[in-house]
């Protein structure tokens, strides 16, 4: 769709440049088309049997509305936790030497490789009121597994690697000498962090957070095992999709799936626009 606008930036590069850039473009669009857009279109066609009123009715049942609320609310909390702790983890891994560093670096990716069902069972077992960790919270009346807190923890777990792994390579590219210079010029540590270190890694942090958020919104396998799945309490939208699917209600499932997709797309757009807007000040 945008192939016409490929050669936007006028430059003094050699004239065969169009030919050069077009290969990546073809790859990008073929891949996206075959893997993502074509299947997505097929799914849309399945929902198209519904008229807008039916679509709206299915998308806005009281239970459906409560699941959007719970899904996005909890995913935002999980994304913020990941943003803070992920950035910190990347910082610690890149800038400090300490025992266990390799170990820490090595386990960051485990949440992706572990099947989500295993993650779910494990978190539910570790965090229930008599579990290894849950028992420390139970005396204070804090229930973790089978509540929204559990859902949030599962979401943090499955999206843990995103922020760490996006910020890490950027930090590695930034020379420590820049901050050394700032310090030696007398800047306070706070000012150094705020003015020197943070700006270049903000795009990476936002990217990682956006991905973590997106992943948390879509997560099903682990959450369904950690949550009580009681409507209005901690039932999330992907579980509702699954419920409708099991009830052989494919249009109903598709509708919720599409609503999730649309909201995610809008939120991702906002985050990416923010980033693009933020970059203007760099140049």
């Amino acid at each position: 769709m945008t192939s016409a606008s490929v050669e936007i930036r006028p430059s003094n590069r050699p004239k065969n440049v169009l030919q050069k850039v077009s290969i990546p473009w073809i790859v990008v669009f073929t891949h996206m088309f075959v893997i993502l857009l074509l299947p997505l279109a097929a799914l849309l066609l399945r929902a198209i049997v519904l008229n807008p009123a039916q679509f709206w009715a299915l998308a806005t049942t009281p239970i459906a509305l409560s699941t959007y609320n719970i899904t996005f609310g909890t995913a935002i909390v999980a994304a913020i936790v990941n943003m803070l702790m992920g950035t910190l983890t990347a910082w610690v891994l890149v800038r400090y030497e300490f025992p266990g560093k390799r170990f820490l670096d090595g386990i960051v990716d485990l949440p992706f490789a572990l099947p989500t069902a295993v993650a779910g069972v494990t978190l539910a077992t570790v965090y229930n009121q008599s579990g290894w960790l849950g028992q420390f919270f139970a005396p204070f009346g804090i229930q973790i597994a089978f509540s929204r807190v559990g859902v949030a923890i599962a979401m943090v777990f499955v999206s843990l690697p995103f922020v760490v792994r996006t910020v890490q390579p950027v930090l590695q590219e930034i020379e420590p000498t820049i901050e050394e210079a700032a310090w030696s010029l007398g800047a306070s540590r706070f000012a150094t962090f705020w003015k020197v270190i943070l700006p270049p890694i903000i795009p990476a942090i936002l990217t990682g957070t956006a991905q973590a958020f997106a992943r948390a919104v879509g997560e099903f396998g682990s959450v369904v095992l950690v949550a009580a799945n009681i409507p209005f309490q901690d039932l999330i939208a992907p579980v509702l999709v699954f419920q409708r699917l099991e009830g052989a209600d494919i249009p109903g499932a598709t509708v919720i799936g599409l609503v999730l997709l649309l909201i995610s797309l809008i939120l991702l757009l906002i985050i990416n626009l923010l980033q693009a807007w933020g970059r203007r000040y760099d140049a």
Binding site: P24, V92, Y96, L110, Q172, R189
Partner: protein, 290 residues
Amino acid sequence: MTLNLETHAPIGEREIHPQDSREWAKIGLILLVFAFFTVILIVPVIYVFVGAFSNGLPGFLGTLSSRPFLNALRLTLMAVAVAVPLNVIFGLCAALVIARKSFRGRTFLLSVIDLPFSISPVVAGLMLVSLYGRQGLLNPVLQAIDLRIIFSFPGIALATILGGMPFVAREVIPVLEEIGDEEEEAAKTLGASGWQTFWRVTLPSIRWALVYGIILTTARAMGEFGSIAIVSSNLIGRTQTLTLFVDSSYRNYDSQGAFATAVVLAGLAALTLVIKQVLEHLYAQRHRVK
């Protein structure tokens, strides 16, 4: 987890600022990260290991030598072998296009690339079924050329590719933006071809981002479950991947088998990291030689 922190950082001496408070801040941050990891990741992973060895080493090895497990391992590795290279090529191209060109719809394209993360795996599976299934859009074509996608390996591969699509692009773009394009422009001015510029200038500076992207794509490809569960016929020994094997073991009250398989998946993910460490080492060596 006992921590025995060294009090002196090996990263050079800093003369101007007071050492003590910086050291304390450093220790504090490290402890905070460890605490977070302990609660979210380490304890659950220990639980998985304990479960895997609940019948001792023989039980663990028993699972690992069963034929359904080996077939599942093979299928998972095959899916990884197809999905990772395709996603890496896509990711690199997408990153170059998005980070180096400005065009209308750039942000939109970026957001669409992110989308596979937020597609619930169940919906992702449903998408593929809607396209290639018996009632799917392309079914008449597939029937005509006698090609089977869903409930066969291609379906599993497609689901795996879809799940890991954004990683490489998303890892590489921030780095490309951070380093800017001055060096590339300089190389071009000096007469380097596009390919030479990419190979000699761009690639070295994005290498770590690329490596992380590959690691994440691989890890995700191995752990893919929800969508595969929908597009695979889950035939034991034929279309059962490791994650499907985990699920079916669990359902048969063979928790030990399920956890043992999860440990293998974790081990495979760790393997990619070992490869990364080796690469890092080799790279450092080569640079010293130069």
